[in-house]
Amino acid sequence: MSDAESPSDDFEPIEVFPDEETPDLRPGADDCYKCSTCDTNCPVAEVDDDFPGPKFQGPEQWRLKRKEDASVDDSISKCSNCMRCDSACPSDVGLSQMHNTARAEYVEEELSKTSLTYWRNRILANYRTSAFLASKVPRIANFAMNFGPARWAMEKTLGVTSEREFPEFATETFREWWERQGGADGSRERAREARERRGEDVDADKRVAYFHGCYANYNTPEVAKSLVRVFEHFGYELVVPEQRCSGTPMFANGMLDDAERHAEVNVSSMGDLIEQGYDAIASCTSCSMALRQEYPELFDIDGIEDVAENTWEALEYLRVQEDLSGELAGAEVEDEHLASLAYHAPCHARNQGLDGQALELFDDLAGVDAEDVGDSCSGISGTYGWKEEKYETSMKIGEEMFDHMEDAEGEVGMTECPTCAMQMEHGTGYEIRHPLEVVAAALT
């Protein structure tokens, strides 16, 4: 309509001025000019011809939904929330935001709350709860979770694939270890010593709040411990605030209410610290993605913008605030285990512009040769690859990465994302490390 004409009577403006709770998706739908570039970047559409792709799931479905009798198509549950479409779109359409919203609506209105699929997804999405319980009895849990007959039953009744081995629960969680190290007080002591050693002002204001996420707490505390060692090496005092799940698995399962409940706790505790002058850091790139992008896109919580704007991916923070590259260039890693690393950039790291970071940092690090295994998606996408009906798709997507890993020198992989690591290990049998572990080996 030209700006010279006045709207006719049957023109109905749609959600141009939405209520505070609902994100306004209209501009995204209008900005899409159907170039289909997103579709050529979608790893699911790549291997599943029945999946209509991100352009349909986002702008097209949103438009179709304007009709009263139209409901969200069930193909939305095939979207793995890798968010690759976001960085593909030349027109700034908030595709993942549209997908997250549509998926939530689908779960709310189309999925029976008494169905096994709903409860299976809910259990997977609330991994933190299971992990919390399992961490109380880690040895029993490790046995029980991978006990053959139990896994068979889980696949048959709940639809959790029995192809994968459940990740091991650490016998001591990161938070338990952290307390044993004296918590924030211990960290302050060690940071002061480091600042003195580095010739910096001992009273310098170097304080960070660590969002470790569930996985580094319950399953891979060595990643979180490495982060602590590296940050204290640079003279930072850490605090490990109260936190819940970042929400990543909940977004991907359309459980936005669950996600919001957890987000409220996170925003409140991280927000308080940010107000006191702390910066927030995360070691899991899906957690940082959630806090930085998904929270402000999906929720309206007091202080959410401050949290988003002051949350950093851990290595990115050190790169900008400290001479991380310089220190690594002068260091050497003697652990032969880390000599050749096959690096996979997680989709959620790519979308934060971090996909080249680890390789660039390790370029001049003696004793480490890190090789990129290409720009494909690992295929697991958190809980996605755990679903019995998605397992095959997940492995098909991962095939390219597995092949490139096999071609790479060395048999150790590296990635920032815990579930990508799971998939890399599952597909190749390689041991997988986090870049922070390499930095810790080099500097501490």
Binding site: C35, S36, D39, E46, P52, S87, P90, Q352, G353
Partner: protein
């Protein structure tokens, strides 16, 4: 401390990637920041230099018409040697993927709409389709790929006066993909050939093939192994096979994007895919940093020299509202009529003033303010963010990007050494 390089290039299209390679060649450390994935997926893959003279005449040789261009045209600013240097850089990047480097003259290529386009370089996969070739051609479309209507394209080609008979036919693609299958599915099916797709497609085409010595397909014949796919089809059909370049998303564009990325990797250029939203200066007329937005976080990327290669109105290197047209990254001056009703002409195909909008640069490619003074000593511009030319009408898009990208990048790199 901080993220710091000799040269920072803003923009990931042909101009930006060319500038990054040229700067790296000078020995500079280079970082390229691009808002999104490269827009090469939007490009047909044809590399134009100059297809039409200012009077609208089709050009046999772009270099013949350079002296007829207005003084503020980017080609007039950088000169013929810069165009040749840009093309040379392109040839080094594209290698065996491209043809046309044997001559400075334009080639004529059929498009998926059935028009004929003058171009300086073209994908090797399109070579057998040259419109100047007088051998008859069969164009083949797929039922599920509605972007290419082969009978209609053939009719249009004949109407355009090509020196051969063109015929179109539509077949179904083996495996019967969904009605709106994405173009990469066809390409990957032919790459992998897992269910003998190459042979099965050839067999379906053979039924409609009437001995034409060349057969054209929509440009979806493989992403990784286009030469193998063509060779297999050629052997089965006993005819030359060519691709007809298509609209977005474009396989020739994707292949070219990968070729550029490989060249950037080899040159040690680091790429960051996030938007630049602000800048910092040293207070004395020089840029010191481009501020990159990373999901809420604003991170300065420092450099000694900068190249602005963010594209034009389509690539969003220029932004506009009812009040004004702006260059949003470094806020450079964009000359424009004050009254927005003078930005355009009513005739859709008339000479549109907005098509020439862009930053105003001198022959050193430094953007200038409204009084003609240099905006920043260490900033140069490249590609369609530069004003003074209408790439769509004159068919000069990639050529200007290569020529100005190469010149701006080399100068930026040399400054830092």
């Amino acid at each position: 401390m901080a993220i710091e390089d000799d040269v920072l290039v803003v923009g990931g299209g042909v101009a930006g990637m060319t500038a990054a390679l040229a700067a790296a060649d000078e020995g500079a450390s280079v970082r390229l920041v691009t808002k999104k994935q490269s827009t090469l997926r939007h490009a047909s893959g044809l590399v134009d230099v100059l297809g039409y003279a200012p009077d609208g005449k089709l050009l046999a040789d772009p270099f013949d018409a350079l002296t007829d261009l207005p003084a503020d045209h980017p080609y007039a600013l950088v000169g013929a040697e810069a165009i040749r240097a840009g093309l040379e850089r392109f040839d080094a990047v594209a290698g065996e993927l491209y043809r046309g480097g044997h001559t400075e003259k334009n080639a004529l290529l059929p498009t998926h709409g059935g028009t004929v386009k003058p171009t300086a370089r073209y994908p090797a996969s399109a070579a057998a389709g040259l419109a100047s070739d007088d051998r008859d051609a069969l164009l083949v479309g797929f039922e599920t790929l509605t972007d290419f209507d082969a009978p209609l394209a053939a009719e249009h080609l004949e109407a355009a006066g090509v020196p051969f008979d063109a015929r179109g036919a539509t077949v179904s693609f083996p495996g019967e993909p969904r009605a709106d299958a994405k173009v990469t599915r066809y390409a990957h099916a032919l790459d992998e050939d897992a269910d003998g797709e190459r042979g099965r497609l050839a067999a379906r085409v053979a039924r409609v093939h009437d001995g034409e010595p060349r057969v054209g397909f929509p440009a979806v014949l493989g992403q990784e192994h286009p030469a193998d796919v063509r060779a297999a089809l050629e052997a089965d059909l006993d005819a030359d096979v060519f691709e007809v370049p298509m609209g977005p998303p474009s396989l020739p564009g994707i292949r070219l994007e990968y070729a550029f990325r490989a060249a950037l990797d080899d040159a040690g250029v680091h790429t960051v895919r996030r938007p630049v939203v602000d800048y910092e200066t040293d207070g004395e007329g020089r840029l010191s940093a481009a501020v990159v937005e990373r999901n809420g976080q604003h991170i300065p990327h420092y450099a000694d020299s900068f190249v602005l290669a963010t594209g034009g109105l389509v690539g969003k290197g220029l932004d506009s509202d009812r009040e004004a047209v702006r260059e949003p990254v470094f806020d450079c001056h964009v000359p424009q009529p004050e009254d927005r009703y003078d930005w355009f002409r009513d005739e859709a195909f008339g000479e549109q003033p907005y098509a020439r909008f862009g930053v105003d640069v001198g022959d050193d490619l430094r953007p200038r303010d409204e009084d003609g003074r240099i905006e920043f000593e260490n900033l140069r511009a490249a590609g369609s963010v530069i004003g003074g030319y209408d790439f769509a009408t004159e068919c000069s898009g990639t050529g200007v990007s290569l020529a100005t990208g190469d010149a701006a990048g080399a100068a930026a790199g040399a400054d830092t050494q």
